[in-house]
C-alpha cells in the first residue's frame, strides 16, 4: 500500500502535512464483505494495529474472542485519549492564564482610575481592544477545548458501547453453544447412560437368577440319590440334564451380553468424548470472555472528574475557602511525590476496577494498619495494595486470584489514570 498523505489540522491556526506509511501490509482474514469494508475504511495506523491483532487468528470463535477481549484494543483508544486529555489540560492552563490576565487588567484599570481618574478616550479604546483580544483568545481556546472534550467523550462512549456489545456477543455465543450443541448432546448421552444402566441391571438380575437356579439344581441332584425307582431316577436325570443345558445357555448369554456391554461402553466413551469437545470449546470460550472481563474502563473521561475532586480535597485539607483559581490539577507528576489519602486511593481503585476487584476499605485498613485519612504517596499506596493482596490471599479474605504481573498492570493503569505517569 502506498503512503497516504494526511492533512492534519491543529486548532485553526496551523496546518501540517504528515506522510504516513503503514508499518506493514495488513493481512486480515475477514470472511464477511461488510467487515472487510469497515476494515478498508480504517486509518492506516488502525489497519496496521488491526492486522497485528488478527495476524495469527483463525476463523475460530475462541481465537476471535481472544481478539475481542484483547486489552490492547482499549489501549488503542487510551493512547489517543491520553493525548487528547493532555491537550485539554494544556488548554485549561492557557485558559486559566488568560483569565488571570483579564482579572489583572481590570485590577490595574481600577487602580489607575482611583489614582488618576478616567483614562483618556484613546487609551480607553486601547484597553478595551486589549481586553477584547484576550476574551477572543479565551473563547477560541474554550471552543477548542469543548471539541476535544467531545472527542474524549466519543472515545469513552465508544468503549462503553463496545464493552456492552462484546458482552452481548459473548453471552449470545455462549448461550447458543450451550443450547444447540452442548445441552442436546449431554441430554442424549444421559438418556443413553440410563438405557445402559437398565441393561446392566438386567445382566446383574439374570446372573443372580442363574446362581439361584444353580443352587436349586445342586439340591435336586442330591435328592436324586434318594429316589428308589429307576424310571423316576431317569425322569429326574433327564430334566436335570436339560436344566444343565439351559444353565449352560444362560452362561453363554451372559458372556455374549457382557461383550455387547463392553462394545456399547466403548461407543459411549467415544460419543462422550465428541460431546465433550463442545463442552471444552464452550469452556475455553467462557474462560477467554471471563478472564478479560476484568479489564477496567481506561477512559480519560474520569480524569476530568478527578481534577475537580482533587481540587475539592485540596481545598478541604488546606483549609481555604475552596475557591480554585488555577486549573492545574493538584496531582501532577510522579508517584513518589504525589500524595493521596488511603481512602481516596481505595475509592479510585474500586471505582476504576469495579466490584470484581473491590477492596473493602475496612479490611484494607486493618491489614495495612494505617489511618485511612492519612495521606501517602502513590508509591507507598501501591506498596500497601501489594501487601494487601498478598495478605488477603494468604488469609483467604477474598478468593481473588490475581497474579503478580496482573496486579502490577492494574497498579500501573491506575497510576496513569491518577497522575498520568
Amino acid at each position: 500500500m502506498a503512503g497516504t498523505e494526511i492533512k492534519k489540522e491543529i486548532g485553526k491556526e496551523t496546518t501540517e502535512t504528515i506522510t504516513m506509511k503503514p508499518e506493514k501490509e495488513p493481512q486480515v482474514n475477514l470472511a464477511d464483505p461488510e467487515n472487510k469494508g469497515i476494515f478498508e475504511r480504517l486509518s492506516d495506523k488502525a489497519k496496521s494495529f488491526g492486522a497485528n491483532l488478527y495476524e495469527k487468528a483463525k476463523i475460530n470463535i475462541v481465537d476471535r474472542a481472544k481478539i475481542m477481549y484483547n486489552e490492547d484494543l482499549f489501549s488503542w483508544h487510551d493512547e489517543i485519549s491520553l493525548g487528547v486529555a493532555s491537550k485539554i489540560r494544556g488548554h485549561d492552563q492557557r485558559i486559566g492564564a488568560l483569565e488571570k490576565s483579564l482579572v489583572e487588567q481590570d485590577r490595574r484599570l481600577d487602580s489607575y482610575k482611583k489614582r488618576f481618574g478616567k483614562l483618556p478616550p484613546d487609551l480607553q479604546e486601547k484597553a478595551y481592544l486589549e481586553k477584547q483580544n484576550l476574551e477572543r483568545q479565551k473563547e477560541i481556546l474554550k471552543n477548542q477545548r469543548d471539541r476535544m472534550q467531545t472527542q474524549l467523550e466519543f472515545r469513552n462512549n465508544k468503549k462503553s458501547l463496545y464493552e456492552n456489545r462484546r458482552n452481548e456477543i459473548a453471552q449470545e455465543v455462549n448461550g447458543r453453544i450451550q443450547e444447540r450443541f452442548v445441552a442436546p448432546r449431554e441430554k442424549r448421552i444421559e438418556s443413553l447412560q440410563e438405557e445402559k444402566g437398565k441393561f446392566d441391571q438386567e445382566i446383574y438380575a439374570f446372573v443372580s437368577t442363574k446362581t439361584e437356579l444353580e443352587k436349586e439344581l445342586t439340591e435336586l441332584k442330591s435328592e436324586v440319590e434318594n429316589v428308589e425307582s429307576d424310571w423316576e431316577k431317569d425322569a429326574l436325570g433327564r430334566i436335570i440334564k436339560e436344566l444343565q443345558g439351559e444353565l449352560k445357555e444362560s452362561n453363554n448369554y451372559i458372556k455374549s451380553r457382557l461383550k455387547e456391554r463392553a462394545a456399547i461402553e466403548k461407543k459411549l466413551v467415544k460419543l462422550d468424548k465428541k460431546a465433550n469437545n463442545w463442552r471444552d470449546y464452550q469452556n475455553e470460550f467462557a474462560r477467554v470472555t471471563q478472564r478479560t472481563s476484568h479489564y477496567p474502563e481506561t477512559g480519560e473521561k474520569p480524569r476530568e472528574k478527578i481534577k475537580t475532586e482533587r481540587r475539592e480535597i485540596s481545598a478541604k485539607t488546606s483549609g481555604t475557602t475552596g475557591e480554585i483559581t488555577e486549573t492545574k490539577p493538584i496531582i501532577e507528576t510522579k508517584e513518589e511525590i504525589e500524595k493521596l489519602s488511603a481512602s481516596d486511593y481505595i475509592n479510585e481503585w474500586n471505582r476504576y476496577f469495579r466490584s470484581e476487584m473491590e477492596i473493602k476499605p475496612k479490611s484494607f485498613v486493618e491489614i495495612s494498619k494505617i489511618d485511612q485519612k492519612e495521606e501517602l504517596t502513590i508509591a507507598e499506596l501501591e506498596n500497601l495494595i501489594r501487601n494487601y493482596y498478598m495478605a488477603a490471599s494468604k488469609e483467604k479474605i477474598r478468593p481473588l486470584k490475581l497474579k503478580e504481573r496482573e496486579l502490577e498492570k492494574r497498579l500501573k493503569t491506575l497510576r496513569r489514570y491518577l497522575i498520568g505517569f
Binding site: A31, I61, L192, V224, E228, L243, Y253, A275
Partner: protein, 82 residues
C-alpha cells in the same frame, strides 16, 4: 416311611425339577428378549447421536462463521473513527 410317602416325595421332586426347568427356560428367554431390545435401543441411540453430531458439525461451521463475523464487526467498529 410308607410307599405312598415315597411316591409323593418323588413326584414332588419331579414337579420341582420341571418347575425349575421352566423357570430357567423363561429366565433365558426373557433375558434375551429384554436385552435384545435394550441393545437395539442403545445402539440406535448411539447411531442417531453420531449422525446428529455430524449435522451439528455443519451447523457449527455456519454458527462459527456468523459469530466470528459479529465479533470482527464489533472489533473493527471499535477501531474505526465512525
Amino acid at each position: 416311611m410308607n410307599v405312598r410317602d415315597t411316591t409323593n416325595k418323588t413326584n414332588d421332586g419331579l414337579k420341582r425339577a420341571q418347575d425349575l426347568l421352566a423357570k430357567a427356560k423363561k429366565a433365558n428367554s426373557d433375558f434375551v428378549q429384554k436385552t435384545d431390545i435394550l441393545i437395539k435401543n442403545i445402539n440406535q441411540g448411539i447411531n442417531q447421536a453420531n449422525q446428529e453430531l455430524g449435522k451439528n458439525q455443519k451447523e457449527f461451521k455456519n454458527f462459527e462463521k456468523d459469530s466470528t463475523n459479529k465479533m470482527d464487526k464489533a472489533v473493527l467498529e471499535f477501531l474505526s473513527e465512525e
